[in-house]
């Protein structure tokens, strides 16, 4: 029971985390400078980006949930379950982020999801 609660929390928090991170970073714009000063500057700006804040909270939940899941379930269960986020995230990337998801991206996501299940057995 606790296992499936963790699975649900993991999928929901990872999906929210990735989608919000992508949206927040697109709002911030392309990161072009990578010297320490520029990185600090970008982090200060990002700390006030509401999508990035939401993403960071969701990722923290996802991280601790995954740690907890690994402590009660085998890796061969936890890894394919975490890869299940591929499907809802691809759907949200199209609907919510306005990305062009052509057949190659759909097929690729599908092949990978099946592949991860096989590889984790």
């Amino acid at each position: 029971m606790i296992k499936w609660l963790l699975v649900l929390t993991l999928i929901a928090s990872t999906t929210i985390g990735d989608v919000a991170r992508s949206r927040g970073m697109k709002k911030h714009g392309e990161v072009r400078e990578f010297h320490p000063g520029a990185i600090t500057q970008a982090l200060v700006t990002l700390a006030r980006n509401q999508w990035v804040i939401l993403s960071t909270c969701a990722m923290a939940v996802s991280f601790f949930t995954f740690m907890r899941l690994l402590s009660i379930a085998p890796v061969s269960f936890a890894v394919p379950v975490s890869a299940a986020t591929l499907i809802p995230e691809t759907i949200l990337a199209r609907l919510f982020l306005g990305e062009v998801v052509d057949w190659r991206r759909w097929a690729g996501a599908g092949l990978i999801a099946v592949g991860v299940v096989l590889i984790s057995r």
Partner: protein, 143 residues
């Protein structure tokens, strides 16, 4: 200053470089974390025990690598599509499986080879698409 083609080529090579860093930091970070968590065993549900686990050396190394992953993943997503980044970085599953099997000296089963083949095919397919499809105008729209 850059032509449209020059800009696309620049983004493509920048995307390649960041994809490699994202994948390597994720695979090594997760391996270190998993290794540490296995040594600790079942740690229970309390937040305090989770925080205590962070002081285990392998867990700490894993967390440091995952911080690097977070920063490079954020940078990559500042220009590349999520529906591109997510499948392409899935090559990490293959690296994890192969590293684990070679380090333990296990033979790779038929099912695992099948999984590796499917993931690699999927990554190649998505890798052929343009990394960024939301144009300047589209980005304006969602902000």
């Amino acid at each position: 200053m850059h032509g449209a083609a020059g800009n696309a080529a620049r983004l493509r090579s920048k995307t390649r470089l960041f994809t490699v860093i994202v994948v390597v930091s994720n695979v090594t970070g997760n391996s270190a974390l998993t290794h540490g968590m296995k040594q600790l065993g079942d740690i229970g549900n309390s937040p305090l025990s989770l925080i205590g686990a962070l002081f285990h050396p392998w867990v700490a190394l894993g967390v440091a690598l995952l911080i690097l992953w977070t920063l490079t993943h954020m940078a990559l997503l500042s220009w590349a599509d999520l529906s591109y980044v997510l499948p392409v970085t899935a090559i990490g599953y293959v690296l994890t499986a192969l590293c684990g099997e070679f380090l333990l000296g296990e033979t790779v089963s038929i099912a695992h080879w099948g999984g590796i083949l499917l993931i690699t095919a999927g990554v190649t397919l998505v890798g052929m698409t343009t990394p960024a499809t939301t144009s300047g105008a589209a980005v304006e729209q969602i902000t």
